[in-house]
């Protein structure tokens, strides 16, 4: 034991070949085509003629080592010792034969790992931290995801949506979860309650003031000590002041609600990428199973599944039928809050007579 501290080996991002399934390594950059023999299985064929079957299964993402070891056991016994994870925390097992793939499916399902998430399914929800670990969350993430995926299990293991559906969650308005066909995000509805005793000690007031998108915060003296003041008329309850200044209590068990957004799209396939749009808000933040939020999501999925055409992503479908029809078909109320009033709002207004009756 020497006392000279160990300095890090600044090795950066490791080489991926060392962890890669041999068939993938061998045919790196030389894949010819793929198909999907069944939901949850991808079949890729290389120019060399080599083939690989990939079995995709859902995980809880936040995994205990026992779960990971179990997956490794399955990979060693039924697979070929190589796996990868997707951007949506699904695990993928690569194997060299279709029956190996079939056996893997059986084992995974037996062990409680749903097989699916491919093609036109509802894949795993992109998942953030929430109450489990974040310092600013308005709700939980793992719980919301678990509750919703329980409800959407059948849509995960089947491929009977018009196109893939990608859901995201975010436990505050920072939106680590990102854009999605459907996004389930916290929406605060009241200005922050300020704990004036703490501001002076913990907050750099100028930088807090600078964070506010609408300049609603001004420095102030409150009972003799330097603090901050919020113009509640201006405040849009975004929570941006909270991370740099925790005494700006934005989170509230009652008033931190859930909002649902529709039509986010990242791919460039057909239409350009697009942002999701607000469709519902004021939904109670209701652990442990958030039934009200789940109901809204399932209803939207039902209508999409019935009304959209093949290959239409959620947003592309709404574009085709028009937003008035979307609200009509889903029965969701349309309110003044749907009308944008942020910078550039005019781009979202209908400057034409194009109207469906």
């Amino acid at each position: 034991m020497s006392n000279t501290p160990r300095m890090p080996i600044e090795s950066g991002v490791p080489d991926h070949f060392q962890y890669m399934h041999p068939t993938l390594r061998r045919n790196y950059g030389r894949w010819a085509w793929h198909d999907r023999p069944r939901p949850g299985i991808l079949h890729h064929v290389a120019e060399s003629g080599d083939e690989v079957w990939t079995v995709r299964a859902g995980t809880q993402r936040q995994m205990d080592v026992h779960t990971i070891r179990k997956l490794c056991d399955i990979a060693d016994e039924f697979g070929e010792g190589y796996v990868r994870f997707t951007i949506r925390s699904n695990i993928e097992f690569m194997v060299s034969s279709p029956d190996k793939a079939e056996r893997l499916v059986g084992k995974l399902e037996a062990e409680g790992f749903p097989v699916g998430g491919t093609g036109n399914s509802v894949s795993m929800i992109s998942h953030t931290q929430g109450w489990l670990h974040c310092d600013i969350p308005g709700t939980d993430a793992s719980g919301v995801v678990k509750a919703l995926m329980d409800e959407l299990h059948d849509d995960y293991i089947r491929e009977d949506m018009p196109n893939r559906v990608r859901l995201t969650t975010s436990c505050c308005q920072i939106n680590c979860g990102g854009q999605g066909d459907i996004a389930i995000n916290i929406q605060h509805t009241k200005p922050p309650k300020i704990n004036h005793d703490l501001v002076a000690n913990v907050c750099e007031r100028p930088s807090v003031v600078a964070r506010c998108p609408v300049a609603a915060i001004r420095p102030a003296m409150v009972n003799g000590r330097p603090s901050l003041e919020v113009d509640e008329k201006k405040c849009i309850c975004c929570g941006a002041c909270f991370p740099p200044c925790p005494p700006m209590q934005i989170n509230d068990p009652e008033h931190s609600k859930i909002a649902i957004w529709v039509g986010g799209k990242n791919s460039n396939a057909r239409s350009k990428p697009s942002f999701h749009k607000l469709v519902a808000a004021g939904i109670p933040n209701n652990p442990p199973r958030w039934p009200e939020a789940a109901a809204v999501v399932k209803n939207i999925l039902k209508v999409y599944k019935q009304d959209a055409r093949d290959w239409e992503r959620m947003g592309e479908w709404v574009e085709r039928i028009g937003w008035p029809r979307f609200f009509e078909l889903t029965g969701l109320p349309f309110t003044k809050f749907h009308i944008d009033n942020w910078r550039g709002a005019r781009h979202s207004l209908n400057a034409s007579t194009h109207i469906r009756f």
């Binding site: 309850c237 808000a281 004021g282 039928i321 309110t335 009308i339 009033n341």
Partner: protein, 410 residues
């Protein structure tokens, strides 16, 4: 016998060519009017120096605050006869219809009191009597006024309006432009003649979505004809059209060009229309004028806030009334009341020199509609907001309002 003409080598070059020459016209007037001799001199000077030489001032008629555009020359010393060159704006009838007698009378009056130069018409739709001395403004106006014509708008006021030929000669027309135009404008004569608003306010009336009056782009309140029911189809004429032009032409130019893909040319050369998805763009009707026409349940869409460039950038009007009927007296009164309501709200909330559209951009469409007590509708949007920057604490009340309306409608 007038004063000697100034040399106009540059303007002279605009007398040749196939298009009618305004210069030739000005010269013809100069033969009898000193004012036009010097006007030509000043204009030539502008062409040579590439600068304008008019400045504003005041000129008006008794009883009115606006309608005259005063022009005084900055180089009157060199061109004294056109030292004053004011313009009177006179409102024509909707659709700009004339019998020749009326036009001849215009000419006689303007030859007597003015320069003899008339612009038909200004971009806002006025008869522009261009070139008048301060002294002659009153008698000139009186003569036109006696004819039954009234002064147009200028300054921070309601402005002269325009309506398309519409009912008078267009099969696409969905409401009575003459009645709408006059009902609205003649209810605002005071705001038109006595400028007292934050800025100008323009109405335009296009009787279908082809918007031949550029109303969405160039007016504060655009009234545009449309319909709620199904497009009227004469399948025999569809068949004839297909025979005449061929299926490919119809598919490439009608079916494929429908913005919402609601047209289908059937194997038997009949046309099917998905009217639920039709956005009333007019295209198919424009192409097949004999076979297709707007539906029977007609009315108007109202858009608010169009204007040009300064100071926040060009604005198009946006939908505030997706549909309203325009048949009965009550309907027309509703339209006038809406206009009044909008102008009052803007007069109260608009900043100085802020157009209605600029105000809406500043306060948000939602607040504008709320202020007017108008029902919101998703048809007013391309899409709902993409940002969470809104305070939604009375969501439930708002949702309730919508449900009640929906129930009421249902």
């Amino acid at each position: 016998m007038t004063k000697k003409a100034h040399p106009t080598p540059m303007l002279d070059q605009l007398e040749s060519g196939p298009w009618p020459s305004f210069v030739t016209g000005l010269k013809r007037l100069a033969e009898t009017k000193d004012m036009m001799v010097d006007l030509l001199g000043q204009l030539e000077h502008s062409y040579t120096t590439r600068m304008g030489y008019w400045k504003g001032g005041t000129a008006s008629v008794i009883g009115y605050g606006g309608g005259v555009i005063p022009r005084f020359s900055e180089i009157a010393s060199r061109f004294p006869a056109s030292a004053e060159f004011h313009t009177l704006r006179i409102m024509p009838a909707p659709g700009m219809h004339y019998d020749t007698g009326t036009l001849r009378r215009f000419c006689d009056i303007w030859e007597q009191y003015g320069s003899g130069l008339i612009a038909l018409h200004g971009q806002s739709g006025d008869v522009m009597l261009q070139g008048c001395t301060t002294d002659n403004v009153q008698p000139a106006f009186d003569a036109f006024n006696e004819m039954g014509f009234d002064m147009g708008g200028a300054g921070p006021s309601v402005r002269t309006s325009m309506s398309c030929v519409g009912h008078a000669r267009c099969e696409h027309s969905c409401y009575d432009e003459g009645r709408a135009h006059r009902a609205v404008l003649n209810n605002f004569t005071d705001d038109l003649h006595r400028p007292a608003l934050p800025y100008k306010f323009k109405f335009k009336f296009s009787v279908c979505a082809n918007d031949c009056m550029n109303s969405i782009q160039r007016s504060d309140m655009a009234v545009i004809g449309t319909w709620r029911d199904a497009i009227q189809v004469n399948q025999t004429e569809v068949g004839n059209y297909v025979k005449a032009h061929g299926r490919d032409y119809v598919i490439d130019n009608v079916v494929s060009r429908c913005p919402t893909h609601c047209l289908k040319l059937n194997r038997d050369d009949t046309l099917s229309i998905d009217n639920r998805n039709c956005v009333r763009c007019m295209h198919c009707i424009n192409v097949m004028t004999k076979a297709l026409s707007p539906g029977k349940d007609r009315g108007v869409t109202v858009l608010v806030g169009g204007k040009r460039t300064l100071k926040i950038g060009d604005l198009l009007g946006t939908v505030v009334i997706p549909f309203m009927k325009l048949d009965s007296d009550a309907d027309y009164e509703r339209l006038v009341a809406l206009a009044r309501n909008i102008i009052d709200f803007w007069a109260e909330n608009g900043l100085e020199h802020e157009r209605c559209g600029e105000m809406i951009d500043r306060i948000g469409l939602g607040n504008f509609l709320e202020g007017l007590g108008l029902d919101i509708d998703p048809a007013m949007l391309n899409h709902p907001r993409t940002n969470p920057f809104v305070r939604t604490d009375d969501w439930d009340e708002e949702a309730q309002r919508w449900r009640q309306r929906a129930a009421g409608a249902g």
